[in-house]
Symmetry: D2
């Protein structure tokens, strides 16, 4: 079993034991993900990046990932496939020669 | 190499080729993650969960995951470890006998 | 003094008394606004719209508004002018005859 | 009519003309607000605060405010009352002598 399968399998078991699948429609999972992403972001509020607490980042990032993995599982999306595919397409949108050392968005390059 | 290592390795190479590590402080990565989480959420705006486009969900979820993986890599966090650890601690916060079939937050149980 | 001026004036005084203007750059104010918008959103998580607590909505909406007003003040933007102007432009983007009774985005009309 | 009443009145007319009240439940309005807050936040991504485009900030802030005003109207909340009330309570949570010149959260003071 791959790492990702191990995590998704643990999430499935957690939800089945609590009979929580009934609440886990895509819309509420996406809301949960946004809420957790904001809690991660709050670690940096009024701070320089290096002042944020790594313990809090660890906590909130785990919540973000667990929601993201549940959304992938809900829609039968293969995490390795969709992320690697996106990296390939971003490589085309941001060709090295145009984007090297630049933080511009692809439509401003 | 595990599947997570494969993804992170591809993200590192992508960023190194473009010399983008200079922009990738934790604060901006967390902003990027929140922005992508909101784009995923927008797939569901004014819609019933089942009306959302799975192609758009796939796109935006990939962006969310790639930002989350980069944050993990930035802080040297092991994704399998932090997510499995969080599932274990959530299992304690939400004991089966109290939380089964309930969507209440742990502090309302 | 208009209602909006009264609120902005109270926010200015609050910040000046605490010497907080030094922290209030646009980027952190926008982070704060996103965090509060997520807290408002969390009122609705796993719920039907009518199940959300109006007391919590009131709390979080006030935080959202106070951040939004501070951003307007930071950039010298006139709230009545920018919102009324946006309503006018949205009226052109969403002509009544095309958008009546439809929740489609303008680029799908 | 106060300036806030003028804005809310224009938003009501806009929605009535398009028969959009049917879509405007609190949950979707809160999603819309979060999405717009993230678009405002994106103005600052990979940037120093002073590098953000004020034209884009103006655009996105107007969207944020219009959603926030619609949520207030939806729940019959008086914007001046809830924001002024929040400022008063924040003044108690953050007493001047403890919070002056400090960006700490009230529970860390």
């Amino acid at each position: 079993m791959t790492d990702i399968d191990t995590i998704i399998s643990a999430l499935r078991q957690f939800n089945q034991e609590r009979d929580w699948d009934q609440f886990h429609n895509g819309k509420d999972l996406a809301i949960g993900l946004s809420v957790e992403a904001a809690e991660l972001l709050e670690c940096f509020l009024w701070k320089q990046p290096e002042e944020a607490s790594i313990d809090k980042i660890r906590e909130e990032l785990a919540d973000v990932l667990n929601f993201a993995f549940q959304i992938a599982d809900k829609y039968g999306l293969d995490i390795k496939e969709i992320t690697m595919d996106k990296i390939r397409r971003n490589a085309e949108k941001y060709p090295v020669e145009k984007s090297k050392g630049s933080a511009k968005k692809y439509d401003e390059l």
